[in-house]
């Protein structure tokens, strides 16, 4: 056994549906004890991939090993060690939070008690509330609590914070970080860059059913030719042709009436930009710079934005 055995390993995974190649030759290795993020836009194949790894969807081809076991013959044994939270699954609305947790706890031979789970996810006050009366954030925490009912070695979370308000998101992040700190493994999918940067030791960028880049968030960002972003707006607006002529500027895109320019060196790019704007009689309204994020990594890899909202 190697020093860090793989919690998840899959090779040449394929899943084709009638009209789309959802997963198209995907290799992945997640080490025990790390939090790994599958990153990509909607429809990239993240959910199909995670459901294949969870043993809920059968791949058309490829090999999957989870915690040293395979789906099929060792399914039941494997399920005792996994926690799963699905995207958009709805728990029974007529049950209370406590009843829901007792039900899920009953499925596992070993696990955490409903009381512990309530405490873990700060749901004590909602103990006797019906699931139907919970807010979105509370429901999502309950879903994660259910996934933790068997005190799993490996936790799968499919878009755990999609649609949540910032505070609920923060609460869940804390809980997932605490779970990982106890030496467990997490595989999550997300299309929030911030989530991946905060939680994940490593991420894989998925697009069209393949992994197009993988590594730690810092590595991926450092791998960009232009690790800085200049964000500005002018009055009147300037057009792309003007910006294309400025030396030291890489990818250019617009969002909310602002330009975002990727640059290798700020010392070179910013004076050149200011000079070009003055020459064009465009007055700067705002100007800021920041380090590139995973979002910029995704854009430089695919030429598309990650979020469609």
């Amino acid at each position: 056994m190697s020093a860090t055995p793989a919690a998840i390993s899959c090779r040449s995974l394929k899943k084709y549906y009638a009209d789309v190649k959802a997963v198209d030759g995907l290799d992945l290795e997640v080490r025990a004890g790390e939090c790994f993020g599958l990153l990509g836009p909607n429809g990239a194949g993240k959910t199909t991939t995670i459901e294949i790894l969870e043993g809920l969807t059968k791949p058309d081809a490829g090999d999957v090993v989870i915690l040293g076991r395979r789906w099929g013959s060792q399914e039941h044994e494997l399920r005792e060690k996994l926690g799963v939270s699905l995207q958009e699954s709805r728990l029974t609305e007529k049950l209370t939070v406590y009843e829901t947790l007792s039900l899920f706890r009953s499925f596992y031979v070993r696990g955490r008690s409903p009381e512990q789970l309530l405490e873990d996810l700060s749901l004590e006050e909602k103990r006797d509330a019906r699931v139907g009366k919970l807010s979105g954030g509370q429901r999502q925490r309950l879903a994660v609590a259910c996934a933790l009912a068997g005190d799993p070695e490996l936790l799968f979370l499919d878009e755990p914070t999609t649609g949540l308000d910032p505070q609920s998101r923060l609460q869940l992040w804390e809980r997932i970080a605490a779970y990982k700190a106890a030496g467990r493994t997490v595989l999550l999918t997300t299309h929030y860059m911030e989530e991946a940067e905060r939680l994940c030791d490593r991420v894989a960028v998925v697009d069209h059913g393949r992994i197009i880049a993988q590594g730690s968030p810092a590595e991926l960002i450092a791998g960009l030719r232009a690790p800085h972003i200049i964000e500005f707006a002018t009055e009147p607006p300037v057009d792309d042709a003007l910006l294309a002529a400025i030396p030291g500027i890489g990818d250019r895109r617009q969002r909310d009436g602002r330009w975002l320019l990727a640059a290798g060196s700020l010392a070179q790019a910013v004076p050149a930009l200011v000079e070009a704007l003055e020459a064009a009689d465009a007055r700067l309204v705002t100007l800021s710079t920041h380090r590139a994020t995973l979002e910029d990594v995704f854009i430089s890899l695919t030429g598309r934005e990650l979020r469609d909202e």
Binding site: E54, G55, L56, H76, R79, E80, L82, V84, L86, E88, S89, R90, L91, T92, K94, L95, E99, S102, L103, F104, R105, S106, F107, Y108, V109, R110, G111, S113, P114, C146, A149, G150
Partner: protein
Amino acid sequence: MSERQHPLAALTKTRLLEFVREPEALFWVFAFPILMALVLGFAFRDRPPDPVPVGVVDGPTAADISKALAAAGTVKPSPYGTLPAGLEALRTGKIALLVEEPGGLNGPIYHFDATRPDSRLARLEVDDAIQRARGRTDPAPARETLVHEKGSRYIDFLLPGILGLNLMGTGIWGIGFSIVNARLKKTLKLMVATPMRKSHYLLAQIFSRFVFLVVEVAVILLFGVLAFQVPVRGSVALLCFVTILGALCFGGMGLLVASRARTLEAANGLMNLVMVPMWLLSGVFFSSERFPKAVQPLIQALPLTALNNALRAVMLEGHGMAAVGAELLVIVLWGAASFAVALKIFRWQ
């Protein structure tokens, strides 16, 4: 850990809680069959047949005839001033027969439509009453013994049918909708991702049915016995056995109906496809013997027909196990086959 429940117990409890927290479900399972029995029971309650309305045309003997008819009690006379007025009433169906005796005591004339059974009956009753009133004596007077036995009334026929209908409805609806709903909301998929045994999930559906079954059967039977004195002549243990088999059978059919459906609409359509023919054919409201001979083997092979026949045999006729063996076999076969196929083709996601 001690706080862990057995998964089968936890799943069964979950189903029960879901059910009792759904007021509509409670109404359809418990209140609806009773309302139905109540309405139908009163609509078809025992009472003497209404006197047949007849008309008497004005004439010298009209008053005497009316008096004789009223005294006999089996027909209800009303006077008409002229013959055309009486004939008009006859033609429009207000009366079944018109009596006329123009010129006094020379024998009545009866106007009626011989193709109408109530008119022919009125002819006999009216003539009998008039002839007796005028002094006819019968050479061999008849005596009457009126039969009025509990167990042969419509409500007695109806109640076991409603019991069977309810076992079918709650089995198929109760199990079918809950499963399709869980599939639709992906709760089923979420549970499949845990070490839950799939057989536990399906068994819990059936087990939770037994708890409702006890209440549901007790409520309907007690209502029938207390409100209408419907007899339970056979053994109560056998009656329980028959209802349990019936509930299992329809539980299995509920699983089968819900085994593939992905939407509530699809499930609803399938349930109607299964249940509506049995509502009509299986002798719930009227005897299935009324359908043509050619289709009888088909009708008798339906599980609800078998269940209704067995319930009636035990409740009304006091038959034992041997007499309902064939029916029980039909019920068991349907249940076992449905359950086996459902397990085989069940869609867990």
